[in-house]
Symmetry: C2
């Protein structure tokens, strides 16, 4: 799947050539009709359980690296990878040594209604929330605007051992910022290189990024927006500005193509997932994550203590009453 | 369940009187034997799905309140409750008005092996990770120690619309801090009132707290620690200091009893959940959360736009090619 959906580094990207209804790499082609959808959903459940196991190994690995605990730790920690956000991240990276504080970061980008929320619910939802680090990026706040565009991104990175999910990301700064002319061209043009440098730096620090464009068609976006209007329980998801952005569809597609082409690197590859079919989308993203975990060669860490001695201490603690 | 498991405000707490293997409030007593466990697990799945629906309503409610979007928002947001941590929280509280920026916060405390991680996996895992805000508290870092004990807690509060989960909490500062004499008695004695004032303040700001002690027996802790030693894949969860803390079991039970007695308030009640049986524990916590959602009287917010007009704009955007 990674080879199949990946944007070739340095290559031109033609999104119009990718059919949003296609299902590249999906096995079980012998299963057809409505059963195909059900079969694929079943596969997502199976892959999800496997993702949960890998997530635990990643977490265990980071916990073991942090086992040199701070003073006063006696009974204050229970295998948790740590306290406050930045603190945990910094502490972990500090003690990680040569191999870095490993973590996985799924970056999700899409046009409105592209399915980011649904993907998070079904794919990230298969993992233990204790080891997940999900962050959504809206328009920058007044405080965020006082810093460079990567400032809020750095603060939102997952600590070692965690699986992070970015619901939108720093790519908004070369997408909406470009299409809506929120900054001068000289500013957004410089950002592609800045993003590549940042992502290279993160890769060196142990962050394995999986950047995914959920690729939907213009027609499918229209259907989904209409569904939000026709279903009162979905009104909260609708925003009139979504139709304004829809009017600039082609500009957005061009901006996506350039971002994927210029920032699809070996350090942080981009994948294009056809997303008109939700069941395929979930399956493809789950599969990409599993393959990414495979490259990490995870395993449970060895005990950092004398197992026999601990067993004796523990058995000696039994009470008769 | 809330009435059944709740610590009466102002009352004395006798943890020894609560059987960790009991299953108060569990219906379906006609189902017995091994089937009882399976039946209860099925109920957790059903309640979990309901929790997911309530969580979405809570999220929708906060999103609607935030609908006065900042400049430049055109296409940058997609129903997400917002950007950086503090930013989202502050922004939401700002615009929430009279009813406050509503959110739910599950606080989990337990002795080692009490089942906090498992509860988070099964109960919080039933909700959408996009709207979850899980935070684990370990021993304070050097930075955290430079501030009062509630500083890191305030920074970890869920933004409006989110369901927060605290894996350990500010209660460690009247538990481990007291039993291990990490601070003088005059310091930890003052903290009960400080905690009550803090929790009252949070309740007024829209935070509905559900504080749960997962109550296990001394014998069950011994079994679970042994399991961690005997299973190499669980070694990462074991820490030799856990046996040291076990030696001070009675001191910890006394510290828990006092914390529950002094900080079980109407604004932020404490619940004691018998937790030797994992399936009952998950069921009870899920049930407590569902009942807590019920008190919030949630519903989907009305549209903040003219639905008919938006429908026309959207249909006018259809392309023929």
């Amino acid at each position: 799947m990674r080879e199949l959906l990946r944007v070739a580094p340095g290559g031109a990207v033609d999104l119009a050539a990718v059919d949003p209804r296609s299902t590249p790499g999906l096995p079980g082609q012998e299963v057809t009709g409505p059963q195909r959808k059900e079969w694929t959903r079943g596969q997502v459940t199976l892959i999800g359980a496997e993702l949960g196991r890998r997530q635990e190994m990643l977490f265990a690995d980071a916990t073991a690296r942090q086992s040199a605990r701070p003073v006063g730790a006696a009974a204050g920690v229970d295998g948790s990878a740590g306290g406050g956000e930045g603190a945990a991240a910094a502490g972990g990276a500090d003690r990680a040594g040569v191999t870095g504080g490993r973590r996985v970061l799924l970056v999700l980008q899409a046009m409105d209604c592209g399915g980011k929320d649904g993907t998070i619910k079904r794919v990230a939802g298969a993992m233990n929330p204790l080891g997940l680090h999900v962050r959504s990026f809206g328009p920058p706040t007044a405080e965020e605007l006082q810093h460079d565009f990567l400032w809020r991104i750095r603060r939102a990175l997952p600590p070692p051992g965690y699986v992070g999910v970015f619901n939108r990301s720093h790519y908004e700064d070369v997408l909406v910022a470009r299409v809506e002319s929120l900054v001068p061209e000289s500013i957004w043009q410089a950002r592609y290189d800045e993003i590549n440098a940042f992502e290279r730096e993160q890769a060196d620090a142990g962050v394995t990024m999986v950047k995914v464009l959920l690729h939907i068609s213009y027609a499918e976006q229209g259907r989904r927006l209409l569904e939000r209007l026709d279903e009162p329980r979905k009104h909260w998801k609708y925003d009139p500005s979504d139709v304004d952005a829809r009017a600039r569809w082609d500009d957005y597609q061009a901006a996506y193509a350039e971002a994927l082409s210029r920032c699809g690197t070996d350090a942080a590859p981009w994948y294009v997932v056809p997303a008109d079919r939700k069941w395929y989308r979930d399956w493809a993203v789950a599969h990409l994550l599993r393959e990414t975990f495979d490259t990490l060669d995870l395993g449970y860490p060895p005990a950092g203590f004398d197992v026999r001695r601990e067993r004796e201490r523990l058995l000696g603690s039994e009470r008769t009453s």
